[in-house]
Symmetry: C2
Subunit: 381 residues, 2 copies
């Protein structure tokens, strides 16, 4: 029974973090809550899946270090990161980007670092950092463009930026990254980047490693294959870091895992090759189509996205009112799951109440239905 009047539903979900909202939607009829890749397999991706038994055998028959290095080369070069330290011991392969981030968070906490963290961003990042005893100061997205690093950041501290950002899709272009990196270097601070969404946006595929290495700033980059390919959570997170870094990342890593799965490494190698051979183009076209579809529905109701330039697989929608929690609850009651954006604004949740995040890495029909219902509920108040 559809519920489409906001006054009919209680505001559920108060106190939930974003992942908990996503859990509610995981098996729902219309799930555009989580940002995981759930679009249909392309034909060439389906061929890779057909070869899983051979991929297993190939992964089994070779030294793990070789299989791992191949995956690093394949993925990092596919997203333009030719200056990454492939072949050194400065790439740690983890189960996921969150595991990689938590290893970094542990080391930052143990070092007593203050972290200037991008605001807004996905809330598990501030939560992981805080759980390790890290002190956070917000680094507002517009201040990043101006390289205005918070005054609190000094030697041994860290500037942490998600690029392209989640949920806004805003990337940090080279002309902004360079002054940020120089400023971090001059203050003796670490520059940490979460680039989980870079596969969707060619503007985030210039060679970050080359730029940061040339400037000589201590840096850590979290890479992620998990947002791109609909592989049922078979994915890798990479924790990549600059030379002579003081943080004991490798030691902290060893407390959590010995190696990631060589099968998944090999799978990533295949998928990255497919991506370069047209897969990325097809993926971006599919996401762009779904984005247009949402934008059309919004336009018809005089609604909009605040992130017109975004290329990533999630899209913010601006609501007529500052009632995202209510809108999300109302939609959830009819089996349509989205994310209210309050928790992204980890320092000022009220700022996010004007926005809903919609995932685009879904079958077209799912996105279409979600957009319809979102517009109907948002404008019914």
């Amino acid at each position: 029974m559809p519920v489409n009047r906001l006054s009919d539903v209680a505001t559920v979900g108060v106190g939930l973090n974003l992942t908990e909202y996503e859990v509610l939607g995981i098996d729902a009829p219309i799930n555009v809550a989580d940002g995981h890749a759930r679009q249909p397999l392309t034909d060439t991706q389906a061929q890779v899946i057909d070869e899983l038994p051979q991929i297993f055998a190939a992964a089994h028959s070779r030294p793990i270090a070789e299989v791992e290095r191949e995956a690093h080369v394949a993925y990092l070069s596919a997203v333009g990161q030719h200056g990454a330290p492939v072949g050194t011991d400065r790439i740690l392969t983890t189960y996921s980007s969150s595991v990689a981030m938590d290893i970094l968070a542990r080391c930052l906490g143990e070092a007593g670092a203050t972290v200037a963290l991008i605001h807004p961003t996905f809330d598990n990042i501030p939560d992981l950092l805080r759980s390790r005893g890290v002190r956070l100061v917000p680094f507002e997205e517009p201040d990043i463009a101006a390289a205005e690093i918070p005054a609190e950041i000094g030697p041994g501290d860290c500037v942490f930026i998600t690029t392209p950002n989640n949920p806004t899709g805003v990337p940090v272009p080279p002309e902004q990254l360079e002054p940020l990196a120089v400023e971090c270097r001059d203050r003796g601070a670490l520059l940490a980047l979460d680039t989980s969404f870079r596969g969707f946006d060619e503007r985030a595929q210039y060679d970050h490693y080359r730029l940061l290495t040339d400037i000589g700033v201590d840096h850590v980059i979290v890479e992620d294959t998990g947002k791109l390919w609909p592989m049922l959570e078979l994915k890798l997170g990479l924790l990549v870091f600059s030379e002579d870094l003081a943080l004991p990342l490798r030691k902290a890593y060893s407390d959590i895992l010995l190696t990631a799965s060589p099968l998944i490494m090999k799978l990533v190698t295949h998928l990255a090759a497919d991506a370069v051979a047209g897969g990325f183009q097809a993926m971006r076209a599919g996401i762009a189509e779904n984005r247009l579809l949402v934008l059309d529905r919004l336009a018809a109701a005089a609604m909009r996205t605040p992130d017109g330039d975004s290329k990533v697989s999630v899209l913010r929608v601006e609501l007529p009112g500052a009632n995202a929690s209510e809108v999300a609850a109302c939609l959830a009651a009819e089996g349509v799951h989205v994310l209210p954006c309050g928790p992204f604004y980890w320092n000022r949740p009220a700022d996010g109440e004007r926005y809903i995040r919609v995932a685009l890495a879904r079958p077209r029909e799912t996105v279409e239905r979600a957009a319809e219902r979102l517009v109907a509920v948002a404008t019914a108040a």
Copy 2:
């Protein structure tokens, strides 16, 4: 060039943790260092691998909650845990047992708990707990048998036991678990079990959940599919907990992941079914053969294991001298990797210098060659 005189090699590896030792051996000619499953696939396991494309499709076509529940039923019933809370929200599926343990460690640290931790045990457990600010007191293996819980443990604290233990293989039988659970309950303490190796030992397959629930003790059990099947690290860790537990495990879990891989869940379901249909028997027979092979070599050199009853996939070997670090370094120099046991004895590393741990979940030839060289080097001093 083989090095077989201890005096010829420096003691390398001082300050390494066990996983770091394992990293050194990962692609070595003879690697019996890590306890991961690296034995050859059985015929029926190879059939499961052949079906990976179909398993992917099946995992994709069904609600994740269903796929997950099936995996829980299949695995937990295969190891006798019929009283586990399958179908409730008290089973969290993670990438690995270490990720599960770290989630528990975080919550214990935030609660200010003191943990009585089994001694010896694999060193990433004390390391993970300490990294979360937990205070540790050693709980000596013989004291567990006598249910003599350290006096420091009171309300809100925790007793943490690995059963069967790693590296000793000692399981906690029901007649010991019961008084431990009663004592924990009476003190208001949590009883946490790491049962990663239970698949190898039928003595660890009585229904722990039933026993602990009947006694009414707060409990958390970490289950692990990762030690059993040679699946290239495709595995699940489970974090299972009793009703009305005060620790916010689900919240901490949500900071790390949304769901584990449905493909791996489905794979575990297949492997557990195969295990029940003869796979466990074949696996245990293979491990037993490799154990006998090592024991024969030891006996021929008047050496022994201190763990004659062990059924798990690792075996301690007692050295003529207290020089495990040197023996391990000497073997490593010739491409044979074992674990020196010092770091298992997290509270008194010197106690472990008399023991080497050898992994048995390997091809027969690997174990044979390792045993030969271990005996030769250990008796050459």
